[in-house]
Symmetry: C2
Subunit: 111 residues, 2 copies
DNA sequence: AAAAGTGGTAACCTAAAAGTGACTAATGGA
DNA sequence: TCCATTAGTCACTTTTAGGTTACCACTTTT
């Protein structure tokens, strides 16, 4: 019989973990247009709190998708940008969006 | 200035909602190989409970990705299979897995 | 002297997702 | 008579993600 399976070592699950969750995709989207300061990201997300934004940025950074550059100024200035690895994700996201457009008619309305 | 953004109407978010979560991907994977009975799916997933498996199957069915066929027998027999819509997802999942293989070296080990 | 500006942290709370263990219906077989 | 079988349901607890509010550091501006 086939081996037993677990989501933990599913490559697709691992990939989606990079950009899944409530905010990561739009953060990546914002940064795909421009390098941005913390506050600039925040105003583009209608309702995210500082704590959550910080968390998401830290995780994206830990996964190597974005970079964080802190200037020695006061008041503080920190700039976030996509890394090359982060940029490599964009075509994949475009593929996913393309599938959605092609299959939107089959999509059942939201539960 | 650009409009404010929200994940709610992101097409990629909507797509991922179909197969995101802890178990849906491997369930789809199992069914991509064969039509399976409830119990057959369960033994292939090492640690899923009946309750959670039932929930996931119901959601996949509600989203039109799988079909459920119940036979009038006792003990009961129920067979799950990918729908055509479910099958249309497979190439996308293969794309995602391909991206992962190509970029696996950049992937930081699990947090 | 006080307030504004920036990028956070700390303590706490909440809702949703996931998990657990016991229970069920109806039949065939020992 | 009683047990096994299958695909669940029910009530409950735990875990996780996300959210709220208050506070801080240090300098410049008012």
């Amino acid at each position: 019989m086939e081996n037993k399976l677990d989501h933990a070592d599913c490559p697709v699950t691992a990939t989606i973990a990079l950009f899944g969750g409530r905010w990561k995709l739009i953060i990546l989207y914002v940064l795909s247009k421009n390098t941005r300061r913390f506050g600039e990201i925040q105003v583009r997300l209608p309702s995210i709190s500082k704590k959550v934004l910080t968390e998401q940025l830290r995780e994206l950074e830990a996964d190597g998708l974005i970079s964080r550059k802190q200037y020695k100024e006061l008041p503080p200035r920190v700039e976030y940008a996509l890394t090359d690895f982060g940029k490599s994700l964009c075509p994949l996201l475009i593929d996913i969006a393309a599938w959605q457009r092609k299959n939107i008619d089959n999509l059942i309305k939201v539960r």
